[in-house]
Amino acid sequence: MDDPIIVGIRNLNVTAGKNPILKDINISIPRNKITVIMGPSGCGKTTLLKCMNRLTDLYPELKVTGEVMIDNKNVLEAHEDIYKIRQQMGLLSQRPYPLPMTIYNNIAYAIRLRGVHNRREIHRLVVHYLQQANLWDEIRTRLKEPASRLSIGQQQRLCLARGLAVNPEIILADEPTSALDPISSQAIEQTFLKLKNNYTIILVTHILRQARRIADHVVFMYMGDVIEQGSVREVFENPKMEKTKLYLGGTFN
């Protein structure tokens, strides 16, 4: 793999009490590619994602050690600057969590956190990000409505727009289509393909077909271990490990 690396994870261990959740993880994630982390439920995919922007802080039972390097900074050792570091990563969670405010303010809030306070500039950016997330045409007349009125699929695209609005380099997506209908899922996938020129996308999924459709780079995890990683072609067409073969063959999921 010769692509420039944006996220380098070394010797990452996460335990919850005495139970190991992630065991000695070492992975490199290439810049401006879609990296898919796949594996059966409970294999630690989501925890791995949360280590990257350190949302693990919210879970007192988790103990995290090792290195998560993003742009040569160890996220796990950050103190006050963690809030700035998190802005390098937009988050899309399993189900949308819009903020309890209007559609417009959901995006404007994120833009203000970036330090932009000029009202015109904010408006221009709100429109821009809603367009990027393929939502603008549907809601252009409803900007002042509470975000809670949107459908789940629209809410998820709103969350994507909001994630882009902090101007991140990376998009972390945790099974972002699992709560969505097929049409909304497709809209999200297509937006990802469009976005990968400018962003690095790290997508957690257990949908094999989705992984195959959009991944450039694949990490396969099982029970807290990384079993195999490589380009989508290597992993899907010529898996080296027995577990990967079984998983791709549908023996377990």
Binding site: Q87, L91, L99, A147, S148
Partner: protein
């Protein structure tokens, strides 16, 4: 469904119906008796004048001193309790999120002080007053009542903020919000309608309590000219009128109770309306 299940189902259905009916009936009787006895004695004079000399023996005047006194004292106490209580509730839920044991202990202690009878707060307030060199006054009463309703305020807000899903906090942090932004801008907004209920609950306790103001706010037939003067309150006014040997004055006590009930009703309706306005932006998870 087997026969046994059918009987069980019917039994509990009847039990639930009876309990509900029982509670509603008691409530109706209370409200009816207050209305029935109070409405005859209530008059414009009663609402707009302070007691004349000999009011408690059947002469003219009203309870304006107690109405305004109670409103001022309860509002002041509620405002103080809110501005202290909201940050505490948010601190518990945002800043102490990694310290489950401490949070559990804080909640336990708050529940404990919630249960302390208001007369104990009155006595404590009295000790505090002596320490600070204060006399019975609006200020002393307000502070004591604020202390008394503080645990109610904190725990009610806390229970509401707690129901916000962790995913909302994650979303907030992922945008680069720090902890205070997450607390005051996101969680507070999500909880507005519940916070209004907490304020209402605290206000109701504050305006309805007699024991905590007995030694601290004192009682007077006049309107206070400042924070450091004694002030009348509705519960004490009701008590003094009921204690009168004159039946007519006793009926005025019911009229005063009616006024108190109506104040609480109006505040409830107002806050419900306010809560509905903010309910729209709340995300239902």
């Amino acid at each position: 469904m087997t026969r046994g299940q059918k009987i069980e189902e019917r039994f509990f259905k009847v039990l639930m119906f009876l309990s509900t009916f029982f509670i509603l009936a008691i409530l109706a009787i209370i409200i009816y008796s207050i209305f029935e006895k109070g409405i005859r004695s209530i008059s414009w004079e009663m609402l707009t004048e302070i007691p004349s000399g000999g009011y408690y023996y059947g002469k003219g005047g009203g309870i304006l001193n107690a109405i305004l006194g109670s409103l001022a004292l309860a509002s002041g106490a509620t405002v103080i309790a809110f501005f202290v209580g909201l940050p505490v509730a948010l601190y518990i839920n945002v800043f102490l999120i990694r310290h489950k044991k401490i949070v559990g202990m804080v909640r336990f202690l708050l529940d404990l002080v919630w249960g302390i009878p208001s007369i104990v707060y009155g006595a404590f307030g009295f000790t505090l007053m002596i320490f600070l060199g204060l006399q019975t006054s609006l200020l002393a009463g307000t502070i004591t009542v604020a202390l008394f309703i503080l645990p109610i305020m904190i725990r009610s807000i806390d229970e509401i903020v707690r129901t916000a899903p962790i995913g909302l906090q994650e979303a907030s942090y992922s945008l680069g919000s720090n902890k205070s932004e997450t607390a005051f801008r996101i969680l507070t907004r999500q909880s507005v309608s519940g916070i209004i209920t907490a304020i209402l609950l605290s206000f109701g306790r504050a305006i309805g309590d007699a024991a905590s103001v007995l030694f601290t706010a004192g009682y007077t037939d006049h309107l206070p000219n400042g924070l450091l003067e004694p002030v009348a309150t509705l519960p004490l006014s009701i008590f003094f009128q009921l204690a009168s040997p004159v039946p007519e004055v006793q009926n005025r006590a019911y009229a005063s109770a009616l006024v108190l009930t109506l104040i609480i009703l109006l505040v409830s309706l107002f806050s419900r309306g306010l809560g509905k306005r903010y309910h729209k932006t709340k995300i239902n998870f």
